[in-house]
């Protein structure tokens, strides 16, 4: 078994994280797909 994880693998992981962040931003900022609780004082 190789002792190193290839550089490309880390890049793929980084892209995956970035995609996840971009998707979350899109969902929250554009689609506004989150649950809002309105609390009465």
């Amino acid at each position: 078994m190789t002792q190193k994880i290839s550089k490309n693998f880390w890049i793929v992981l980084l892209i995956f994280i970035i995609l996840s962040v971009v998707y979350t931003s899109y969902k929250t900022l554009i689609k506004k797909d989150f649950i809002i609780i309105e609390q009465e004082e």
Binding site: L13, S20, Y23, L29, I30, I36
Partner: protein
């Protein structure tokens, strides 16, 4: 993009942030530490780029900077969508801080990179976090009244996971403490793991209790742990030379002080100045103490170095006087036996037969060679320590070359070598130089001698010409040649070529060194062109002396 304002929020900064709701110490607690973290990480990576420890350290500081950025957004963001996004993204840098801290402590304390399975776990954790990021497991809902997120079901597990990381760091420190390592290694390991432990504990406690009690002002204490951690890292770097950085103490102190003082500008209430002053004082004490000790050690090292230097100078002087004593004694002995052989040869001690004559001639020549070698070493030594006083006067360099050539031609032919010379003598050629005739003759003599000694068979070409105000003297041989590696040490003290003794057993390594010292004293240049197996050409370049000038 149509964003909704938080309840009662009035954007007052860049039309995007509402700073009126922020606690008084918010900017002071976060902004200087945000900048300091980025600077520290960048500085260490820049200075110690190839070590895995630096990369993990950058991981901590970079994640921490993103975390602070998102928390600032949570506090001051005026639009509920942006605040919600900050809440959602926070899980990534928060978990990263803990993971990189464990990796850093492991690599720093145990002096090896983490095993491959740790990296697979790291990948799985990040994949998992990326998947849950947009889901309600991460941030369940949004409290529109207070404009803050309500954490989802995963967060209790994240707090437990972070706690496991802290325990892991403790275990690494304990492992090093009980292992058989040197005292300094143990102090180093203990300093870093303690700093890391304190930082993560304060960070975790402030986050956990802030979340538990919904009193987010507690979170402001969290980043102070980072200052402690950075201070300890600086201490370790200055004292134990961890990372390849030399001048961190002073830089860290100045940068930290600048930002601490800058932070005061952001304080809204005068009462908070006390807290800020106290923090700044703490920083100055830790970094200043570390810096002063570093400087003290440096001064001590310099003093020791000066002492060693004086000792070395004394040793050199003693060696020089010893060389002089030995060479004079040796030269005296050679000279005496040379005259005895000369007496035998000229019949002072009566008639001798052919065998005795042959032996006496050998003895005479051997003594003569010995005297020349001793002279060479003595001259080089005198030239080197500056005891030679040059008598500079205008003289004809061509005459010197012609005289030496006449002497050396016999010597070369006796060794079966052909010697050719070209002395250009046009009307306009000037061979007048300002120099010491004795020493210039010595230099020319040494160069030709050198060519004779290192050429087994073939020719030696001597050339003298006037090259536009420069007198160029060159000696070309068909000898063994010089390798590129040998060229570098050719004109240095005792600098012989690797294979030189194979051709010339009497090689002292002082001949060319003397030539260089003499020529440079005459503001000239020596150089060599050579090809292994084909031969070498040595050049002496001297400034022509023009009386009209």
């Amino acid at each position: 993009m149509n964003l909704n304002l938080c309840l009662d929020a009035v954007p007052n900064l860049l039309n995007f942030f509402d700073t009126s709701v922020a606690p008084p110490l918010l900017f002071y607690a976060y902004i200087p530490i945000f900048i300091l973290s980025i600077l520290f990480g960048w500085f260490i990576l820049k200075n110690d780029r190839y070590s895995v420890i630096s990369k993990y350290f950058l991981g901590i500081t970079f994640s921490f900077a993103i975390w602070i950025f998102l928390v600032l957004f949570q506090w001051t963001g005026a639009y509920l969508e942006t605040v919600q996004l900050a809440w959602q993204l926070l899980v990534l840098p928060e978990v990263s801080i803990f993971l990189f801290s464990v990796l850093f402590t492991f690599a720093f304390v145990l002096k090896k990179d983490v095993p491959i399975w740790c990296r697979y776990i790291l990948i799985i954790i990040f994949l998992f976090l990326s998947i849950i990021l947009p889901t309600q497991l991460n941030i369940g809902s949004f409290d529109i009244t207070n404009c803050e997120g309500v954490v989802g079901a995963i967060w209790p597990f994240i707090y437990v996971f972070e706690l496991i990381n802290i325990i892991f760091i403790l275990l690494i420190a304990i492992e090093r403490l009980i292992s058989k390592t040197g005292r300094i290694e143990k102090i180093k390991a203990l300093s870093v793991s303690t700093g890391m432990f304190i930082f993560l504990s304060i960070f975790w406690l402030s986050n956990y209790f802030g979340e538990l009690t919904k009193t987010y002002e507690i979170n402001l204490i969290g980043p102070i742990g980072m200052i402690l951690f950075l201070s300890i890292i600086t201490y370790v770097i200055v004292h134990f030379k961890a990372f390849n950085i030399k001048l961190l103490g002073a830089q860290a102190l100045i940068v930290s002080l600048c930002f601490s003082v800058l932070g005061i500008l952001f304080i809204n209430r005068i009462e908070d100045v006390h807290i800020v002053a106290l923090l700044t004082l703490l920083l100055v004490i830790i970094l200043g103490y570390s810096l002063v000790r570093g400087v003290k050690r440096e001064v001590k090292q310099k003093e020791e170095l000066a002492k060693l230097n004086t000792n070395l100078e004394n040793v050199i002087k003693q060696r020089e006087s010893l060389v002089h004593l030995v060479t004079h004694k040796v030269k005296g002995s050679f000279t005496r036996t040379k005259y005895i052989f000369a007496g035998i040869l000229d019949g002072t001690f009566g008639e001798i037969n052919d065998e005795v004559k042959r032996r006496a001639t050998q003895g005479f020549e051997s003594d003569d060679e010995g005297i020349k070698t001793v002279d060479l070493v003595l001259n080089a030594s005198n030239l080197q320590n500056g005891t030679v006083k040059y008598e500079m006067k205008a003289m004809d360099f061509k005459e010197i070359v012609l005289k030496v050539l006449a002497d050396k031609k016999v010597q070369a032919e006796a060794r079966g070598l052909q010697m050719e010379s070209t002395v250009h003598d046009d009307k306009n050629d000037v061979y007048s130089v300002m120099g010491d005739a004795f020493w210039l003759r010595e230099a020319v003599n040494n160069l030709i001698d050198n060519a004779i000694k290192y050429t087994k068979a073939g020719k030696i070409f001597v050339d003298l010409h006037d090259g536009n105000g420069k007198i160029v003297f060159s000696v070309k041989d068909t000898g063994i040649g010089i390798t590129e590696e040998d060229k570098k040490k050719l004109f240095t003290e005792g600098g012989r070529g690797k294979d030189s003794v194979k051709t010339n057993v009497d090689s002292t390594g002082y001949g060319l060194y003397s030539v260089k010292l003499i020529v440079e004293a005459h503001k000239g240049k020596v150089s060599v062109e050579s090809e292994v197996g084909k031969g070498s050409t040595f050049y002496i370049e001297l400034e022509a002396f023009n009386e009209k000038k």
